[in-house]
């Protein structure tokens, strides 16, 4: 069984977000890039399932759509335990464009499960997974919180606001995973870090595809308003502010 984990290369979660070109482009200068945290959970579980030895998984491959600046992120995936990394050599334009690139790769390289984190930490689109499933005409299960194997049969667990669902999927499927799929991201060990450079990182050309959307502007949220402390004895002032400033009364 082969698993493909799709990786987004995103700015570190502590990055101070800035924009350039008249607020139309993200300013990537000085940004530290990381594996998208949701994808990292997906990869952690995939590697754990393989390393556990009792599951029918032979290979974990990671793939990203991006330029050479994504390679350190891919090598970290290899250090964590992926067997092979694929980089589709093009700037990721939008979800439609990226999904065509990944689908094209999966069409010629069979995988049993194609796994995505539920959203990326940069544009939070939550759409590539479902689009890939559509291009490939295969099932897609969203909000996956668990997977286990009974022989070759995968049992997928899905958390819903009102409980849990258990799902069987026949044949290749896309899984869009969320919290619970793995407890926390795996820390690579020294051996993994040393091995990362020896593992294959294949660079393949992009296929012809179009983007359907284009960012025309970004706006940062208003800075958080300062907290006003009101003396516990001064209830009248509190009521007045809730009414006139916060306008919640």
């Amino acid at each position: 069984m082969k698993l493909l984990v799709c990786i987004s290369n995103v700015p570190d979660t502590t990055t101070k977000v800035k924009f350039t070109d008249n607020q139309t482009r993200f300013d990537s200068s000085g940004v530290q890039w990381i594996i998208n945290p949701w994808d990292e959970l997906a990869l952690t579980r995939a590697v754990d399932l393989k390393e556990d030895g009792s599951n029918p998984i032979n290979e974990v491959v990671v793939i990203t759509v991006g330029l050479t600046n994504t390679e350190p992120t891919l090598r970290k995936c290899l250090a964590i335990g992926a067997d092979k990394a694929i980089r589709i050599d093009t700037e990721p334009k939008d979800a439609y464009f990226v999904s065509q690139q990944i689908a094209s790769y999966v069409k010629t390289n069979a995988f049993d499960f194609v796994i995505f984190g539920i959203e990326s930490g940069d544009y939070n689109g939550s759409s590539v997974g479902a689009m890939v499933a559509e291009w490939l005409d295969i099932p897609s299960v969203s909000s996956v919180s668990g997977i286990r194997f009974n022989g070759n049969q995968a049992l997928i667990e899905r958390d819903t606001p009102t409980g849990k669902e258990q799902i069987e999927v026949n044949g290749t499927a896309v899984l869009v995973v969320q919290k619970g799929f793995a407890k926390e991201p795996k820390i690579p060990n020294m051996r993994g870090i040393m091995m990362a450079r020896q593992k294959p990182l294949e660079v393949i050309p992009a296929v012809a595809a179009e983007a359907l959307t284009n960012y025309v502007g970004f706006e940062l949220p208003q800075p958080k308003a300062k907290v006003k402390m009101i003396d516990a004895d001064n209830m009248a002032e509190l009521v007045k502010l809730l009414s006139t400033e916060a306008k919640v009364l």
């Binding site: 090598r75 970290k76 991201p185 690579p188 020294m190 051996r191 870090i193 040393m194 990362a196």
Partner: protein
């Protein structure tokens, strides 16, 4: 000249940071207060490869360079310097000593389990009457033909009880002075070894420090590291590398306390504004940041020299001296910036201040480092 770290070095630093910030932080206060050895953490850090990170992968170590070691030690010690010293002693005193000076048989038998982290190592040099003056060894290793008979007491032994592999420095031929000293590999479970009480220390309380008594302990001749009489040189050469570990540990204590102080200074208000806006606090932070950066460069320079197989004894003495003094100064200021909160345990900086003190004392006091550096100046060998 290049100030950039390699991808591997950055990954190691991140791995150490993730483990420290995610796991060590959870129980660091309790382990300090109750002086609990971090058994589970050491097991997990072994699985990640930190316990033998400097050992060649041929002997089942991590095969990392000394720059990576400095980065890892800083990140671990930012949160928990007790764990830092356990890693440092195992890597740069015990594993390094065996890898550099041991025979292939010794490496097979003793080094591999240490590099895998299955066993912990301790370095037994100090004695009740021989600390800085390491030539005054009273512990004897009498040559009995096929074995040595070891008698004496060792003091202040880091991991003294939790270690199972000892490197013991002892006097074989008193007439020959320091040229009559040997370094021996000893199994802690050998008959005649008694581990003394757990020292109730001011800081580094999660690392166990003991005295160890040797009474007619038989040590096979094949356990001697290097030629007969090599023990003193072995100890001095090994300590040169050890100083990089302790310097990086001190650096971590300083940068950990500094980060907490900056966070606090940006949150705490006094006289209507965050205290970082008061020059008295801001200037303290400016000094702290500058001195930490200088200490970091000294550590990295010593590590770089070691990785290039160039002499690094003077550089490691400078790094150890400066980083330890910086740790003491920065942690004291971090407590001051925190005010009353700094004096209680839950804010971490009081522990760091207690921990920092030991970095000025062990693996060569600050005064000993000054002797090393000043002798190099006097002999035109700096």
């Amino acid at each position: 000249m290049n100030f950039e770290f390699t991808e591997e070095q950055q990954m190691i630093r991140q791995a150490a940071r993730d483990y420290a910030q995610r796991e060590l932080i959870k129980d660091v206060i309790e382990r300090d207060e109750k002086a609990i050895f971090p058994t589970e953490h050491i097991k997990k850090l072994s699985e990640l490869g930190f316990m033998g990170m400097l050992v060649n992968s041929k002997y089942e170590g991590g095969g990392m360079d000394t720059i990576s070691y400095v980065l890892a030690m800083e990140e671990i010690s930012k949160v928990d310097s007790s764990v830092g010293v356990i890693i440092s002693v195992n890597n740069s005193l015990v594993c390094f000593g065996i890898e550099k000076y041991g025979t292939e048989e010794q490496k097979e038998k003793w080094l591999k389990p240490l590099a895998r982290g299955e066993k912990i190592g301790a370095f037994l040099l100090s004695e009740p009457g021989a600390g800085s003056d390491a030539t005054s060894q009273k512990t004897t290793a009498i040559d009995m033909g096929d074995h040595y008979l070891v008698n004496g007491v060792k003091n202040w032994i880091t991991s003294g009880n939790s270690a199972s592999t000892y490197i013991v420095i002892a006097q074989t031929d008193k007439e020959k002075g320091h040229k009559g000293i040997n370094a021996l590999l000893v199994d802690k479970n050998s008959p005649g070894i008694t581990v003394g009480i757990h020292e109730n220390k001011m800081g580094m309380r999660s690392s166990d420090t003991h005295s160890v008594q040797f009474t007619d302990v038989k040590v096979p001749k094949e356990n001697r590291l290097g030629d007969d009489g090599f023990g003193f040189k072995f100890a001095m050469k090994t300590l040169e590398g050890g100083r990089i570990g302790i310097a990086s540990q001190a650096l971590g204590i300083a940068s950990g306390a500094y980060e907490l102080a900056v966070k606090y200074a940006k949150e705490r208000k006094a006289f209507g504004t965050e205290i970082i806006n008061h020059q008295a606090i801001a200037f303290k932070l400016a000094d702290m940041a500058t001195e930490i950066e200088a200490a970091r460069f000294l550590c990295l320079k010593a590590a770089w020299l070691k990785d290039q197989n160039l002499p690094y004894g003077n550089a490691s003495a400078m790094a150890k001296l400066y980083a330890a003094e910086t740790a003491m100064k920065v942690t004291t200021e971090a407590v001051q910036i925190h005010g009353g909160y700094g004096y209680v345990k839950e804010y971490h900086v009081e522990r760091m201040m207690r921990d920092a003190k030991l970095t000025q004392i062990y693996e060569g006091t600050s005064e000993i480092q000054k002797i090393v550096i000043s002798r190099a100046i006097a002999t035109d060998s700096l």
